[in-house]
């Protein structure tokens, strides 16, 4: 899976969670840039990503994330065939 594909899937997940089709993510987007991306929706996104990519995150990995790029790094690191 290419990085763009991962980004597109993550974008799809956050759009579904926030019910907002206009959300556009890039490598440097962080939660405060996106209206409605609060701590509750952040957990929703993490759980959705875990399910969608069949990976699992630890609590300290989640809280250390600072932007979308770091989330993509973490997903790619954990993907089975990476």
């Amino acid at each position: 899976m290419t990085r763009d594909e991962v980004l597109n899937r993550v974008t799809g997940l956050i759009r579904e969670i926030l019910d907002d089709e206009t959300v556009v993510l890039n490598e440097t987007t962080s939660a405060p840039d996106v209206p409605g991306w609060d701590s509750f929706n952040n957990i929703n996104l993490m759980i959705a990503v875990e399910k969608a990519f069949a990976v699992s995150f630890r609590a300290h990995e989640i809280e250390a994330l600072r932007n979308v790029g770091e989330l993509l790094d973490m997903i790619e690191r954990k993907l089975p065939n990476a």
Binding site: A31, P32, G36, D38, S39, I43, E50, A59, H60
Partner: protein
């Protein structure tokens, strides 16, 4: 030692800065760090030398635990987790001992407890340090830098709650030039000093007696009740954010960028927004170590759909109310703090439930979008004011007395001695006794002039740019010391307000330098004859 004193501003701080930079330029960075530890311990002991031993004991114990964690890390995971649990419980036990032991002493025993200064802040930072050591974020640290991380006088007393990984590497790679750091740092310090001395302390003159009056069982009429509640809300904000700004400013003078702690909280349009603007480093801490782990582990165990009501209640509502209640109890022993925390938990949960509803029903979303911004800001502010009544009042009864007054339920005219508590009214009442009509007129204007600080404070909180907007071009939290992007929650510097750019944006020039100097000196002169402690010290 308090920041707004001549002793701090004209003696302690300059001597400390000169020592620090001199030792650095002489190529002795370790000695420079040792000198800062020495100055910090002196700063702490100035208050009450007896508590120094608690601080030093806590540092030693936590440092030994962190070394044990590093020794066991990797090879023996069960033992590592065991050490972490012992460390966290030990720290919390010491905190609980000082904060809640008084509850066993019966009624009123908790009113007069004097806590070891800053015990919450150094406990929180050290617990986070242990967690970060446990999960491998931090490697082995020399005892000196660890001691400085905990004791550094900037954030020791009332935050911002700083993380080892964001602060300590900056001592190895100082930011920017010394001249830039000193001028920007002093400006931030001056802004904080101004907030504290001219706004917070001026409001405290009449809020403190009003709350004291309610605590001793007197009913408050409508207007004084509102003055007390709105006044205290402003007082707490200017006091605490002023302290944070002063800490950030002094940090910058040493070339250290501390995380931001406030972002115009009263401009929040809903209660979630409020907590993303108020005491940012506490919100970050709670999300990282309490809400996040609890909510994620609940969510993984649930079988219900993520957009169902039961999921919302289990993953959002229950953990939010739990965590906010804990945060409330942390503020002190007493039912009023439980009410304060639980109230915010319930409000946050109610707002999230409303948002859940707007995603399901279009008409509700249309209604939400039709709400004018000023109404959202006003309603959010109203909730916050009511919650802070519980925060400030010495008991739930006292809080209810004030809320009754605010609701207009206190019909009986207030007794003269209560009116006398309010400083402007006090003069009027006294003068009426003396029947000096001419003086009444003079003092009436003077008395109400004092109250003007409330509308002025509201205008500043709602319409003026905040510290980071004012200095946005010069704060530049582009990256954290580890080279990664800066954590957005506490480092996001908003762009300056376009409309007032010319007027509001800070530049290193003579005008700004004179304004800063004038603000510092006038604030210190005012603070010098009315000493008032910072509100957040007692936590």
């Amino acid at each position: 030692m308090l920041f707004p004193t001549y002793l701090f501003a004209f003696f302690f701080l300059p001597v400390c800065l000169v020592c620090y930079y001199l030792l650095r330029f002489l190529g002795r960075p370790r000695l420079a760090i040792l000198s800062l530890i020495g100055f910090s311990l002196f700063f702490y002991a100035w208050w009450n030398p007896g508590y120094l031993w608690i601080l030093i004991g806590s540092i030693l114990a936590n440092y030994l635990l962190s070394r044990a964690l590093i020794a066991a890390r990797g090879s023996r995971p069960a033992l590592t987790t065991g050490i972490l649990i012992v460390g966290v419980i030990g720290n919390l036990a010491v905190l609980a001992h000082y904060k809640y032991w008084c509850l066993l002493g019966g009624d009123g025993a908790c009113q007069n407890v004097v806590l070891p200064l800053a015990i919450s802040f150094f406990t929180f930072q050290q617990i986070e340090f242990l967690i970060d050591t446990w999960n491998g974020r931090i490697s082995a640290q020399p005892f000196t830098t660890y001691s400085l991380f905990v004791t550094f006088f900037l954030h020791l007393i009332a935050g911002p709650i700083t993380r080892h990984s964001e602060m300590m590497p900056q001592f190895e790679r100082p930011n920017d030039s010394v001249a830039a750091n000193l001028s920007i740092g002093l400006t931030i310090f001056a802004i904080g000093l101004g907030k504290k001395v001219f706004l917070a302390d001026s409001i405290g003159i009449f809020t403190d007696p009003l709350f004291a009056s309610a605590a001793s069982g007197n009913a408050l009429p409508l207007l004084p009740a509102w003055i007390a509640a709105v006044g205290f809300t402003l007082q707490l904000y200017f006091d605490f954010s002023g302290y944070s700004d002063m800490a950030i400013g002094v940090g910058r003078m040493f070339g250290i960028k501390l995380p931001l702690n406030f972002n115009s909280p009263f401009k929040a349009r809903n209660i979630v927004d409020f907590w993303q603007r108020w005491h940012l480093t506490l919100t970050r801490y709670i999300n990282a170590h309490l809400y996040g782990p609890i909510a994620a582990s609940v969510a993984r165990r649930l079988t219900s759909k993520p957009n169902s009501f039961s999921y919302l209640m289990c993953v959002m509502a229950a953990p939010t109310i739990l965590v906010m209640t804990i945060a409330g109890i942390w503020h002190g022993a007493g039912l009023q703090y439980v009410v304060f925390g639980a109230m915010h938990g319930v409000l946050l949960a109610a707002y999230q439930t409303f948002r859940w509803g707007t995603r399901r029903w279009r008409r509700l979303e249309t209604f939400r979008q039709s709400l004018p911004a000023w109404l959202c800001v006003a309603v959010t502010f109203g909730f916050v004011v009511i919650s802070f009544v519980f925060f400030k009042a010495g008991s739930v009864d006292a809080a209810l007395t004030i809320l009754k007054g605010m609701a207009g339920l206190t019909w009986a005219p207030a007794a003269p001695e209560i009116l006398a508590q309010l400083s402007p009214l006090k003069r009027i009442a006294l003068l009426i006794g003396q029947e000096e009509l001419r003086n009444i007129v003079i003092h009436l204007t003077y008395g109400y002039f004092e109250l003007l600080v409330i509308p002025v404070g509201l205008a500043i909180a709602w319409f003026a740019p905040n510290m980071q907007e004012f200095l946005s071009a010069h704060l530049s939290y582009q990256a954290e010391p580890d080279g990664k992007a800066a954590s957005p929650v506490v480092y996001k510097v908003p762009p300056a307000k376009g409309r007032f750019d010319l007027l509001w944006v800070w530049r290193p020039n003579v005008i700004m330098a004179s304004l800063t100097a004038g603000l510092v000196i006038s604030a210190l002169m005012k603070a010098n004859y009315q000493s008032a402690a910072f509100l957040y010290f007692q936590f």
